[in-house]
């Protein structure tokens, strides 16, 4: 915990301290040509992206996660200090559990292991309509199937009509259509809602 605080202080000082402030063009041109000049990723058409993996966690050993992909493929995922881990919100490696479903993006190492850059556990993206609401709960009708979406005050964000995200979800309407980004509770029909997009 102390090291987390020390590290946060170091980073805050680096960005707010004012030392070494450079102009907005210190890293080169702001023109779009420069941004698009990066080497495109070379993937054969139709071939699976080698730098991506998905599946359910079958075991976690040290910093290596084994995934059973939905197509039957097995993946070895190496998590590093630089890996971003999302499980309903940015979190840490120790929060991952056996049975979590996940999407991983990273770099494929020569031995077939995927060195993870970003890892999203249990993330779901679905369109539904709100069948009814309860105390911090949305009952969602997802193409005829009922889902329970938990609203977590302070973490759940709502985006209405594409305007900046806010924490107030009370503008959602029963019967309205929504798109939900959330974290599935494995092997249930329940999710925690990270972001809900709605027209209002």
């Amino acid at each position: 915990m102390a090291t987390t605080m020390d590290r946060r202080r170091l980073l805050s000082t680096a960005v707010l301290g004012g030392a070494g402030i450079a102009g907005a063009t210190a890293l080169g041109s702001l023109a779009p040509e420069a941004a698009f000049a990066a080497e495109p990723v070379k993937i054969e058409p139709g071939a699976p992206d080698p730098n991506f993996a998905e599946g359910r966690v079958t075991s976690i050993t040290g910093s290596v996660v084994l995934l059973a992909g939905s197509d039957g493929a097995l993946h070895r995922i190496q998590v590093t200090n630089g890996t971003s881990i999302w499980k309903f919100q940015p979190t840490t490696f120790d929060r991952l559990e056996k049975g979590d479903g996940m999407y991983v993006r990273g770099v494929r190492l020569p031995d077939g292991t995927l060195a993870a850059d970003s890892l999203w556990a249990n993330i779901v993206n679905l369109t539904a309509h709100i069948a009814s609401v309860g105390r911090n709960v949305l009952h969602l009708d997802h193409h005829g199937k009922r889902l329970i979406g938990h609203v977590v005050p302070g973490t759940t964000a709502a985006v209405y009509n594409g305007t900046p995200a806010i924490s107030d979800v009370s503008l959602l309407k029963v019967g309205g259509h929504v798109q939900v980004i959330g974290a599935w509770h494995p092997d249930t029909n329940e999710i925690s809602i990270a972001t809900v997009y709605a027209a209002n």
Partner: protein, 280 residues
């Protein structure tokens, strides 16, 4: 008394059948949906529409026979048999094509649920009770004791509507909306969500500058006075680094977003960017 109440069942079943036939025969959207309904899955898309129409015709014929005099016992018997057929079809469809629409009482696509099966069961029951009328027509029963008859018919019609997911938008959703308006079950969200800060930093010049160096999604975030700090992993000149953004927490001002790249192994600041107009 019981006999006259039984006679009323023919009216109820007849009206429900005529309503159902009206959708099947005259609603163009419903016919289109028959292809994708459970019927389409069971019979094939080409045969589904003719079968749907034939079924509608049979319903219309039986419905009219039930509503008009005379009232032989064969009519409620046939209605009970047809409704029993529906129960069987719905049960089968639910097992074989659980996601398909039932195509029952409305053009609205509604998957087969326990409620639609209960509704068909209710019609079976009404048909069977109707047999007990022993050939009595419903009109004399209605005029004989109008209050009891109207009450029974209204109660049964309410049951049919309650068992019909197709009609939910007319009564159930408004009720739920009213409840939400009175109890405010979703109140209580406050503060600036992380997504608002991420949206803001993605609009900033600082992000455009370092965006191609980032390798990960958000790794860590915290509040520091009036700023929200958001960290990503980055690679800069071959070195593993952390890109830390400072985003104004209380206002929308992408111009004020700052970023610093900090070397992960040494802790040295590699680059620090801010719009000169806001640099302090």
């Amino acid at each position: 008394m019981l006999q006259s109440l039984a006679a009323l069942q023919s009216l109820l079943v007849g009206v429900v059948l005529i309503w159902s036939a009206r959708i099947k025969l005259f609603d163009r959207r419903a016919a289109e949906q028959a292809r994708t309904s459970a019927l389409g899955t069971l019979l094939g898309a080409e045969r589904a529409v003719p079968a749907y129409r034939v079924l509608g015709g049979a319903e219309l014929l039986l419905g009219i026979l039930l509503v008009l005099p005379p009232a032989p016992v064969a009519e409620p018997l046939a209605a009970a048999a047809l409704a029993a057929g529906f129960v069987g079809y719905l049960g089968y469809a639910r097992r074989v094509a659980p996601d398909a629409s039932c195509g029952c009482l409305s053009a609205k696509a509604t998957p087969v649920t326990g409620r639609s099966i209960a509704r068909a069961g209710l019609l079976v029951l009404a048909g069977l009770v109707g047999i007990a009328a022993g050939g009595t027509y419903w009109l004399p029963a209605l005029t004989g004791s109008p209050a009891a008859s109207a009450g029974l018919l209204l109660a049964e019609a309410a049951l049919v509507v309650a068992f019909s997911p197709e009609f939910d938008s007319y009564w159930l959703l408004p009720l739920r909306r009213l409840r939400a308006r009175l109890t405010h079950p979703l109140r209580g969200g406050s503060g600036v969500p992380l997504l608002a800060s991420v949206q803001q930093l993605q609009l900033s010049a600082a992000y455009r500058q370092v965006g191609t160096l980032l390798t990960s999604d958000v790794r860590d975030h915290w509040l520091e006075e009036s700023w929200r700090m958001v960290c990503y992993s980055a690679r800069y000149q071959g070195r593993a680094a952390t890109a830390v953004f400072a985003v104004p927490a209380g206002e929308v001002a992408p111009d004020r977003v700052r970023v610093a790249l900090v070397d992960d192994s040494t802790g040295a600041t590699l680059v620090s960017l801010a719009d000169p107009a806001y640099a302090t």
